[in-house]
């Protein structure tokens, strides 16, 4: 069953009007019937009281003279009143203390009078109205009269009233139904039109539609309001569409700009990579320069010794051919030859050693191979390759490392990190002609090593700590700084060797880099 809320407005209105009318008619007819009921009852009581009064007065003599026969005859006159069921006279005189004196009963009535006189008054039962009155002569009460009347007349009247009420109710409802149909059409037609327009608008999204206007009542105002709203929606829809178009255009433009930016960024990255490569090559070049310089000395000494040996040998050969070779001359030559060949051997050994070291570092630098290496030994090899650079500055280098510490990682990256850190100190930490102490401390912990590299130079101001690892950040541009040194350190530490790097520094208190590297790089790959 549908609830009242779901009924159509038409039916709601009809129901409301019918309900109201029914309630009003019911109330009116109910009050009418109730009023009639009480009025009729009151009239019945009055009529019966009058009758009792008359009959009672007519029996005064009969009671006074104790004449029951006459009293009965008087009562028998009530035959003319068919609704009277019974009537009784009760006497108080001649020793009859309120006992029945004379009585009348309508033929067919079985229930007789009460044996003793009831108290004066009246009462309704379902089927009868009973009334008792005193019989008085002068001021003396000599008896009572009791009359009972059936209520057929009352019930018949009530029935008639109910029938009339029902007829009025039905006719009223029919009338209300007709009027309701008439009124609801007046109210619902514009509403239905409005609902139809609203549905069409929501279906077609066509905000230029308008509901047909209807009068100036509430419904009319609703329709006007709806139309006004539609107007605003239409304007807003148009504005929205404009903004939407503009936005789309902007999106396209932004996309283009984004593309350009991405291209620029990738070019920048390429450039950066090229620069990093260049830097690597430059450091390799420096290495080669260092190697050349380092080897120059022993090779030069060897050349000098060799030329001395050659000069002495030439002199000895000429003296021998001329037969002027003396015993002491030969002895001197042999001394010189022994000394020279010893010098040459020592220096060439030295050169071979150097080359061996350089070769390892250079191979590692240009190679990206991973291998296991002794950290202490490798640090010394790196320092050896840097010796020509360091020698010019007069800085002292202190290394503190357990020779047993070994890691399985990328030695090329390791050497480049250390080289760059040292070069960074040389370039930035000290003024021209100043010499300080660089320290390298390595400690082993569980699964990793910690490398502390420190100088006692100018330090880095705190506000630059975040920037030093960014590419192209340098305080010495145009004075030899490329701005890539520490960036490369950062990249190699974190990406190549899967370690971490932190800087601790204050202006004027030196700089300290703390690098943590896994002992076995593979496990962290």
């Amino acid at each position: 069953m549908r609830s009242f809320t779901d009924l159509s407005l038409r039916h709601k209105l009809t129901l409301a009007i019918l309900g109201t009318s029914a309630a009003a008619i019911l109330l009116a007819t109910a009050s009418f019937v109730t009023y009639e009921w009480f009025t009729v009852r009151k009239a019945m009581v009055n009529d019966l009281a009058t009758l009792a009064q008359i009959v009672g007065a007519n029996t005064t003599a009969a009671v006074s003279f104790d004449d029951a026969v006459t009293a009965r005859e008087t009562l028998n006159a009530l035959r003319a009143k068919p609704h009277i069921e019974v009537a009784c006279i009760y006497s108080n005189v001649y020793g009859k203390n309120g006992s029945a004196f004379a009585q009348y009963a309508r033929p067919g009535v079985t229930s007789k009078c009460p044996t003793q006189a009831p108290a004066p008054g009246h009462g309704f039962s379902t089927n009868a109205l009973s009334l008792t009155r005193p019989i008085e002569v002068a001021q003396d009460t000599i008896g009572r009269i009791y009359i009972r009347q059936d209520l057929q007349g009352l019930w018949a009247r009530l029935l008639l009233h109910l029938q009339v009420a029902a007829a009025v109710f039905l006719v009223g409802l029919l009338l209300a139904l007709g009027l309701a149909n008439l009124f609801q059409a007046i109210i619902t037609r514009p509403l239905l039109a409005l609902a139809g327009t609203a549905r069409r608008v929501s279906e077609t999204k066509d905000y230029s539609l308008r509901a047909p206007t209807a009068g100036q009542d509430e419904v009319g105002q609703l329709i006007d309001g709806f139309n006004g709203m539609l107007g605003q929606v239409e304007i807003r829809d148009r504005d929205l569409r404009k903004i939407h178009d503009k936005l789309q255009q902007q999106v396209v433009e932004t996309g283009t700009a984004n593309n350009d930016l991405e291209k620029a960024l990738s070019r920048l990255k390429e450039t950066q990579e090229q620069l990093v490569e260049t830097e690597k090559m430059a450091s390799l070049g420096g290495l080669v320069g260092g190697v050349a310089h380092e080897i120059n000395t022993p090779v030069g000494v060897s050349v000098t010794a060799a030329s001395t040996l050659k000069d002495s040998t030439t002199q000895v050969v000429e003296n021998y051919n001329a037969g002027k070779l003396t015993d002491s001359g030969l002895r001197r030559y042999m001394e010189t030859a022994t000394q020279s060949s010893s010098i040459i051997l020592n220096n060439l050994n030295r050169a071979a050693e150097l080359i061996q070291s350089f070769k390892q570092v250079a191979v590692d630098q240009s190679n990206a191979e991973r291998r296991r290496f002794q950290v202490d030994e490798y640090i010394h090899e790196i320092l050896l390759s840097l010796r020509p650079t360091l020698k010019k500055t007069g800085h002292k280098i202190e290394v503190e490392c357990d020779p047993a510490i070994a890691i399985d990682s990328f030695p090329g990256a390791f050497s480049q990190i250390l080289t760059n850190l040292i070069m960074n100190s040389l370039i930035h930490a000290y003024d021209e002609g100043e010499s300080g102490t660089l320290s390298i401390q390595v400690e082993q912990a569980k699964g990793h090593i910690q490398l502390c590299y420190a100088d006692d130079g100018k330090g880095i101001p705190a506000h630059s700590h975040k920037q030093i690892f960014e590419p192209f950040f340098t305080t010495r541009r145009g004075a030899g700084g490329s701005g890539l040194g520490l960036h490369i350190v950062y990249n190699l530490t974190t990406q190549k060797m899967h370690g971490t790097i932190n800087v601790e520094s204050e202006a004027g208190a030196g700089t300290r880099f703390i690098i943590t590297l896994p002992i076995d790089e593979k496990r962290h790959a």
Binding site: N58, T60, A61, A62, S64, F65, D66, D67, T70, E73, T74, N92, V93, Y94, G95, N97, V137, A138, D140, T141, I142
Partner: protein
């Protein structure tokens, strides 16, 4: 009050064999007659003048009548009981009960009272034929009465139709 007074009389009148009871009922009737009879207005000095109930002796009621009449009024007229042996003393009486054993013969008594507004009451039909107005009779042991309307008319008394309804027999008035 009257009811209470009459209640004292007690017992059914049908037991008339008992002479005392019979006269108690008759005494009550005498009083009640006053209520259903209208005297000419000049028979009372004023509205509150006493109504005289007279008994021509010998009195058969004993004290019964005194008890019945005591403190009674009829239409504001207080009832006064008067006993007399002489006819000449009936002046001012409204009701006169003539004893059957009265010394004066009936025709004389009634002749003396003729045309005077006195309700004459006695016993038996004989009394009415002689010109009396109401006569007590015994009907199956019950006290009843007959009324002579002609005599009442002669005495200028109006007798209520209700009283006539109750009377066992009514002798009609001659000219009406």
């Amino acid at each position: 009050m009257v009811a209470a007074a009459l209640a004292l009389v007690v017992f059914a009148p049908s037991l008339a064999a008992e002479s005392g009871l019979e006269y108690r009922v008759k005494a009550a009737f005498l009083f009640n007659f006053a209520r259903f009879v209208e005297w000419p207005s000049n028979s009372f000095d004023n509205a509150a003048a006493p109504l005289h109930l007279c008994v021509l002796e010998p009195d058969p009621f004993g004290t019964t009548l005194d008890q019945t009449v005591a403190d009674k009024t009829v239409d504001k007229h207080p009832l006064l009981l008067r006993r007399t042996a002489r006819l000449s003393d009936t002046q001012g009486c409204h009701i006169l009960f003539v004893s059957m054993d009265a010394s004066e013969p009936l025709p004389e008594v009634l002749g003396a009272l003729e045309n005077r507004p006195i309700l004459t009451v006695s016993e038996g039909d004989e009394f009415l034929r002689a010109g009396g107005i109401i006569g007590f009779v015994l009907d199956q042991g019950k006290v009843r009465f007959h009324v002579n309307l002609q005599a009442a008319d002669g005495a200028s008394l109006k007798i209520s139709s209700k009283l006539l309804n109750v009377a066992s027999r009514v002798y009609p008035s001659g000219d009406r």
